[in-house]
Symmetry: none
Subunit: 368 residues, 2 copies
């Protein structure tokens, strides 16, 4: 599997291997302009204070690894600029870079790569379908991560397989927001104790989309923060060459074993089966936010009950407050109630079920 490629008789390119050691030093040992794509998942520089418990008092196993510890933004910025400088040197003129991060680090990384002359092509949002909730109710659920896709410089002829991504998206242009589940279940690698082998293993689906969209078969993909080798595994499946850099021996061992077990896809295996999506849930509050219903407006039921809309998307009836479903159920003395068909609003003298408004929103979502 391992190939060594000589470029102009200079430094060799250790294809399909994991290089041990610090990512910057390892990159320095690689030749100029030798890599088609870099996918980087650098430390996020989380700054966690104490412990966090779930409402059931179980402890959250947070990312507190030594490799994610930086003294200050200045220290993190210095580290970022150092590896980005090497990344730029290693890229072929028409190469490109992907970086993934969260709000803790992504603004630092984005500014730094602009300062280095990289040219941002898109920022891409990974919308997690099953994120960890916010347990204390103090912020919004942190339900996404951000990727930046950038060419080596302005005007470069980067690779973009427009039609392939369009096909992956059921014939519609691929958007800058990707809904994918986090990595768990059988894909999540475990150590000998049955614990997660790496705290932040990325889903293969994410890399699949990145590599299908921005590389061709035979391209060289470098991942300087290789971890358990998701980039290498997906690159191998897709017939791309890869190089990984990883400092931690334990991660390297897991990645070696993992990639050895991966088979390159044949053509038929690359065809993707796509399930029809369920109808998206539309919160009633969205009708209020979007001005389709006004706070203070009165809704009526076919049974003659009424209630008024509040700004947060709840209803107030005579002696009850709550969701459209709760208030309907209460007014009818019923155990449950479908508020969407129960409640009606008036327009131009006509009484219309609020479900009509939900259908409008769904139509827009499907169109978009």
């Amino acid at each position: 599997m391992t190939k060594m490629t000589d470029l102009k008789g200079a430094k060799a390119l250790p294809l399909n291997t994991i290089l041990a050691g610090d990512c910057i030093e390892a990159m320095q040992a690689l030749p100029d302009a030798s890599v088609d794509l870099i996918f980087a998942d650098p430390p996020y520089n989380l700054q966690l204070k104490g412990e966090l418990h779930r409402p059931d008092n179980s402890r959250v196993d947070a990312v507190d690894d030594h490799w994610d510890q930086f003294q200050s933004f200045a220290a993190y910025d210095a580290f970022t600029r150092a590896w980005l400088a090497e990344a730029k040197r290693l890229l072929k003129p028409n190469g490109a870079l992907w970086v993934i991060g969260s709000y803790h680090n992504i603004f630092r990384v984005g500014s730094a790569l602009q300062d280095h002359g990289f040219w941002i092509l898109n920022d891409v949002v990974w919308r997690k379908s099953n994120p960890m909730p916010n347990f204390r109710g103090k912020r919004l659920t942190n339900a996404h991560e951000t990727m930046i896709w950038a060419s080596k410089e302005e005007g470069a002829k980067y690779t973009f397989n427009y039609e392939a991504l369009k096909s992956l998206n059921e014939g519609i242009q691929m958007r800058s927001d990707w809904v994918l589940p986090i990595c768990n279940g059988g894909e999540r690698l475990k150590d000998e104790h049955g614990d997660k082998a790496h705290p932040t293993q990325k889903p293969e689906a994410l890399l699949h989309r990145v590599l299908v969209g921005s590389t061709n078969v035979g391209d060289v993909v470098l991942d300087p923060f290789f971890g358990t080798g998701t980039t290498g595994a997906v690159a191998k499946m897709l017939g791309r060459d890869w190089i990984g850099i990883e400092r931690e021996p334990a991660y390297r061992a897991v990645a070696e074993r993992r990639i050895a077990g991966v088979r390159k896809f044949d053509k038929t295996a690359l065809e993707v089966t796509r399930a029809k999506r369920a109808e998206p849930r539309v919160p009633f509050g969205q009708l209020v936010e979007r001005g389709m219903l006004r706070p203070g407006e009165t809704l009526v039921s076919a049974t003659g009950k009424s209630a008024r809309v509040r700004a947060d998307g709840t209803l107030v009836g005579l002696d009850v407050k709550g969701s459209i479903h709760q208030v309907g159920a209460h007014l009818e003395g019923a155990p449950s109630c479908n508020g969407w068909t129960y409640w009606h609003f008036k327009r131009d003298g006509k009484t219309v079920p609020i479900d009509v408004l939900r259908q409008q929103i769904r139509a827009e979502m499907a169109g978009g």
Copy 2:
């Protein structure tokens, strides 16, 4: 409509007015620590080379206004740091800032606000349900914008109406990705020629969610890049005071007219589901004092533990004495425990959580 508020006899706060002029100079004329929330939609620093055409050769009316032109990242950064410095000065200690941007500028803005000591609470993705497609098929459809929500500094007690946002989302925690349509149709303001009055008018639904989630009725909201006044319009509807700053007379004129036509929602519509934490505290001892529980009575937990009530409102378990919370936590070996939901008493053969008694007392307090 216009109110003038004097703070310590110093500079006055021109509530519910649009200030003309440069945003930094106008901010400098406002007093320290006087504003609860800042919503900022600064220039995006778009870098379009030449014109963009659709496949049918019609010209895309891109943002090429003079106010969006910066010579370099350095110039944009200097501008960003200047207005952020004023923003920080104007915010009350527990105030917060929202900024919206795209990949052209948001990394610069995010880095700058971290450098200024703002504390990022979330980055929020506005996922557009109907974005403009990518006509050339050279990149992903740019289908989202990014907002950053930050408190004035680490540890500040920012406003977050968790329950209200949860209600807006039909009982499920609000996530960091918000699906909303772009502003068009009747909401999109037109000038006298029927052209769009402003190139980047934000949807009211976006501001509705921001203001419901991070301000209270009567708060002061500042928008230093007021444009056509979406922030002011939604603030007025929601019973918040607002201040706008806008340099372009044409935008100011549109905004004035628009906001004059807005009606404030009435009081009940503006009431929002509140957090339990906001309810008055009831000491457990009061249940004993009032005879709702007798000293010596046994309380039980769903897990089969038990403890006896003492006359001073503490509990005694097998090997532990203390508050309802302390004894519950100890018996479960948990870091903490909400004794109100943990402990139950028996009446008429039924097992009832003691929280029911607390609710009785609170109902009496509310009734008079």
